[in-house]
Amino acid sequence: MRLSFDDATEAFRREFVAWLADNMPDAATATSERARSSAYIPPWARLWQRKLFDAGWLVPGNPPEFGGRNASLVEQFVHQEEMGRHKIYPSYNPQGLSIIVPSILAFGTEEQKRRWAVPILRAEITAALGMSEPDAGSDLAGLRTRAVLDGDRFVVNGQKVWTSGAHDADVILAFVRTDPGAAKHRGISALVIPTDSPGLTRRPFGSIVSPDERDFNEVFFDDVAVPKENLIGDLHDGWRVATGSLGHERAMLWLGFAERLDDLIVHGGAALAEQRLAGDALVLDWFGNLAVDAYALRLLGYRTLAKARRGVEATEQSILKLLGSEAVQDATLHMMEALGPDGLDPDRRSAPLDPLHYEAYTASWWERYLRSFAGTIAGGTSQIQRNIIAERVLGLPR
């Protein structure tokens, strides 16, 4: 047990931080055009992502031809930690970079890697993830979008929903049912579907935050023809790709929550001081809880990292997600209420804008509270996480 990383890791960190200092986009450029959905990358951000790719700093764990430098797990962690500290993202198409590319690199052919993974990495195209359906949310394996193999193409019919950024994306990695006769986990396949395919309709819809916030989409497939070579992994073996994809999504997800909790301490601390509430006994009680959660999450995250480094499959991702997402929700709710009537104004920022960061992270306390539900619902609800912990960690019967 030690409180610091080793010297080699710290040297890696210094190298990356120095590179960031020379290469980060300036604030004026970044404020000139904001990322408007999770599959729209503004021109300045495309240049930024391309720079990272060329320098091997985009996904350091990858080999150089895929934007990396074969970095170790701990180095990848430090890289992500510094991105967070600098309030900047490697890509403004997070699903493309963190879920779809790793899936194609893990399960795709060389041709598929060249055709989709590299262009996504180089910010030449963007991608959306087609998993959830109206009747397949937590029960993802219950998905019903059908793909029928017909000669050298699949014909796809059905509907996806919550498909973030689909209206701005060039391709969708969609999970479809190819064998309706098999057990539900066994009859699924993964297809890359270009969004300009005839018969594919995207309908963006507003979120609880605002009718004008357009990131979520309904995506309808009406006899959409998809070439057979767009199949990722083996036919009917899509569940393995799906769980692998979510594994990529979840591996360091906790760090995002840890950063949100640190932000809440800083932003909340400043707002409470301004309101002369920083010494209030009732405030201290929940604010102390925020501090406990923030430290505990980071420490448990570090432990998970150490386990992963030893190659031990961590069952702890569920604990980290549950603890982190609920702590963020609890603290944002407290902040909103602590401000009293001032907390009602939906346009009053909770902190100064970070130009390279998503605006949501400094939006009103009301908006931050609403968005905290993305943490407790998306990527496996808190109820599902509790079921997973109960069954896999505590060994309770299904």
Binding site: S4, G269, D285, L322, L394, G395
Partner: protein
């Protein structure tokens, strides 16, 4: 940043758990509560294993281990509701001597611990006073809620002097002690009357650095108590999980019901949260990191939270079977709860942690 126990620490935990489970079954704790045993046999076992000297510096004849090993040990002893004065001796008395007394002053006192002697500490700078009296010191006041104050061989009394806090080591026979009743019958708390007690010069530790040493010892004591609460809470959870796997209603184990699962998970997460912070607090003590004051308060807060939910859900999930004296649940429940108000309550530590964090807007990155 490596936040995993190393191989030796894992081995230490295994050894302590084995001994604790074998030598301190629920039957022993029940015997102590009932008055037919005083736990001295168990203490003798601990002494034979050299455990009381765990954090006594090697130069003073001890094992010279760090607060991390102490916390690992205390958690395991909390798990069996250890009825001996181990907690007070190691995390309080030894800590005060190590942090407040110079090498010459502490040598004979620590040698006594290595030989099987016991100690307690009264952190009573607000309630006890000391004034210089010839070649010794004269104490006054009354210290309350002193863990093992009625049965330890020695009490390290932290008392206010004209020049800040000092530490005064008093044989328990020299003071008037009264055991305070608590709901945990195998846990000792005492009121110590100090009026007119004389302390020889070689047992008085005052002057520059002592007040800071007292604070450091207090942090260790707080962390140690938190670890005991975590261990006892873990035992409550273990007991409950075993029960809900076995107990069948409506034709199925009740542990298959989501309402039951989710309650058990909330206890589990609260324990993980508290244990991580206990380890962090121990590590900041071991590495003398400046966040040790904050870390101790975070640990005690999280331990307070976890005992609360463990007790609440523990009894509830056992149903009627948990509401009996025969069920061992009540033993560990009591041990988990008894630490809550001591050395600063959950609410006090939570507010303290909040103040420290608000003052510094401290970010949580552990690597600094």
């Amino acid at each position: 940043m490596d936040f995993e126990l190393d191989d030796e620490q894992v081995e230490l935990r295994r050894v302590v758990r084995d001994v604790a489970e074998r030598e301190c079954p629920a039957a022993l704790v029940r015997a102590v509560v009932g008055g037919s045993d005083d736990g001295s046999g168990l203490w003798k076992t601990f002494v034979e294993l050299d455990w009381p000297s765990l954090t006594v510096p090697a130069g003073d004849g001890g094992m010279g281990m760090s607060a991390v090993e102490l916390v690992i040990t205390l958690e395991e002893l909390g798990r069996v509701a250890d009825p001996t004065p181990f907690l007070a001796t190691t995390s309080q008395y030894v800590a005060v001597l190590r942090e407040c007394a110079g090498p010459d002053g502490r040598a004979p006192l620590l040698a006594a611990v290595c030989a099987g002697g016991t100690g307690a500490a009264a952190f009573a700078a607000g309630a006890a006073q000391a004034r210089s009296d010839g070649d010794g010191w004269l104490l006054g006041g009354r210290a309350r809620h002193v863990i093992d104050g009625d049965r330890a061989d020695e009490i390290a009394v932290v008392a206010a002097t004209e020049a800040g806090a000092g530490a005064f080591v008093v044989p328990v026979g020299d003071v008037a002690v009264t055991r305070e009743p608590t709901f945990d019958g195998s846990f000792h708390l005492a009121t110590v009357d100090l009026d007119g007690v004389r302390v020889a010069g070689d047992r008085a530790f005052t002057g520059p650095g002592v007040e800071a040493g007292v604070e450091r010892a207090r942090q260790e004591a707080v962390t140690g108590l938190a670890a005991v609460m975590v261990g006892a809470s873990q035992r409550v959870l273990d007991t409950v999980v075993a029960h809900v796997k076995e107990r069948r209603q409506f034709g199925v184990p009740i542990g298959s019901f989501q309402a039951v699962k989710h309650m058990a998970v909330d206890v589990y997460v609260a324990i993980e949260r508290a244990r991580a912070l206990c380890h962090f607090a121990a590590l900041t003590i071991a590495e003398d990191d400046p966040r040790r004051e904050l870390a101790a308060s975070l640990a005690k807060t999280a331990a307070g939270d976890c005992q609360r939910i463990a007790a609440q859900h523990g009894v509830q999930l056992f149903g009627g079977l948990g509401f009996t004296w025969e069920n061992d649940l009540q033993i560990y429940l009591r041990r988990a709860k008894v630490g809550e108000p001591l050395l600063g309550s959950t609410t006090e530590h939570r507010a303290r942690a909040a103040r420290l964090v608000l003052a510094g807007h401290a970010a949580t990155e552990v690597d600094g």
